[in-house]
């Protein structure tokens, strides 16, 4: 009868799956316990242990702004609104320099009846908007500003939130450029 002297603990032997004589797989009981522990842990956090309750997202994460060049005289702007948040259509504004943005056709949003303001339209999820430019911006850079105002379903609203990004407009505009994000995600965000 051989025995691995370096692995005295049955638990170590089980996880290392070594010696056939004392090996056990992680059975149904162990997996269920692990699942229960994860559930309890997650619930405890969600129930709002002080300092651990889910937090309100910063506006640049709740309302991610990005844009790309479609052609030298057209920009495509995009908002990715996080789940549980929404933007007001009538508060969306785009300006740019050095080339001006012409009047924009904003897509229709979801109608929401507001007791004070009447019918307002809101955006959820991904929204793209075509921004026509007053003239071609070929071969230069364009700074695009977006002003937006939004709220969270949980009942909180943000102050007006200006964001900006810089686009490089290629000289010949053969095809649409890549999306540039106003607030790029960090590795660990």
């Amino acid at each position: 009868m051989t025995r691995q002297k370096s692995l005295r603990s049955p638990w170590l032997r089980a996880t290392n799956g070594i010696s056939a004589g004392s090996r056990r797989r992680l059975g149904l009981v162990e997996r269920s316990l692990a699942a229960l522990a994860a559930l309890a842990f997650g619930t405890a956090i969600a129930a709002g242990l002080p300092g651990l309750a889910p937090k309100l997202l910063p506006p640049e994460q709740a309302f991610r702004f990005s844009a790309r060049v479609l052609d030298p005289a057209t920009i495509e702007a995009r908002f990715d609104v996080a789940d549980g948040y929404y933007l007001y259509r009538d508060k969306l504004r785009f300006t740019a320099e050095p080339v001006q943005v012409l009047p924009v056709d904003l897509p229709r949003g979801q109608r929401k009846h507001d007791e004070f303001f009447g019918d307002v339209e809101t955006y959820r999820g991904a929204v793209t908007v075509r921004l026509p430019l007053a003239s071609a911006a070929s071969g230069g850079t364009l700074v695009l500003h977006a002003d937006s105002q939004g709220c969270a379903d949980a009942g909180v609203c943000y102050p007006p939130n200006p964001q900006k990004l810089t686009l490089v407009v290629p000289a010949n505009g053969a095809k649409p450029g890549p999306f540039v994000e106003a607030a790029p995600r960090g590795l660990f965000r």
Binding site: R31, A34, A38, L39, G42, A46, A53, P54, Q149, A154
Partner: protein, 169 residues
């Protein structure tokens, strides 16, 4: 992997993220009482004039629907318990004209002050890092901050809080 999914599902279970802080020992509210802000008629009002009251300072704006929705209950509470030393003060992060119009429309029975950068900085210092609305600070009669809340104050919750503060010496 299954365990991780279950844990994540529990965490994501749609729990509201109101950050309310129930302080065991009241924090110093002198920064709140030191605020001086204009009212809708342009007159400067110092919050120190309400020292000694149970003061509910509510940051709001006309463009914030959840803010507007909780105000009728504040108005009712002000009418009912003003005589017992309850005082609401609204700080609107907003334009004067809009605040004045809305205040008239809902028959606001407590002061509406116009908050600028200073007021926003104060709300950040008291835990409202994102300067979101509504944000409410409650001071006891001794000028200590006993409660702060980001997000709407439900009627039952507010009533329970005020009951305790108004009946204590």
């Amino acid at each position: 992997m299954g365990a991780a999914v279950v844990g994540a599902a529990a965490l994501a279970g749609g729990i509201a993220f109101y950050q309310h802080v129930e302080t065991a020992a009241p924090r110093d509210g002198s920064a709140v009482l030191a605020l001086v802000l204009p009212d809708v008629d342009g007159r400067q009002q110092s919050l120190s004039q309400w020292r000694g009251k149970v003061l509910v300072v509510n940051f709001w704006a006309t463009w914030c629907a959840p803010c507007r929705e909780e105000m009728p209950h504040f108005i009712a509470a002000q009418a009912k318990d003003g005589a017992k030393g309850l005082q609401f003060v609204g700080i609107a992060v907003d334009q004067v004209d809009k605040v004045r119009d809305f205040a008239q429309e809902i028959r606001l029975n407590y002061p509406a002050l116009i908050g600028g950068l200073g007021a926003i900085e104060l709300s950040k210092a008291l835990g409202n890092e994102l300067a979101a609305l509504p944000f409410t600070i409650i001071l006891d009669r001794g000028g200590g901050v006993v409660h702060t809340q980001l997000g709407p104050l439900k009627a039952a919750q507010l009533d329970a809080l005020l009951d305790r503060l108004l009946t204590s010496p």
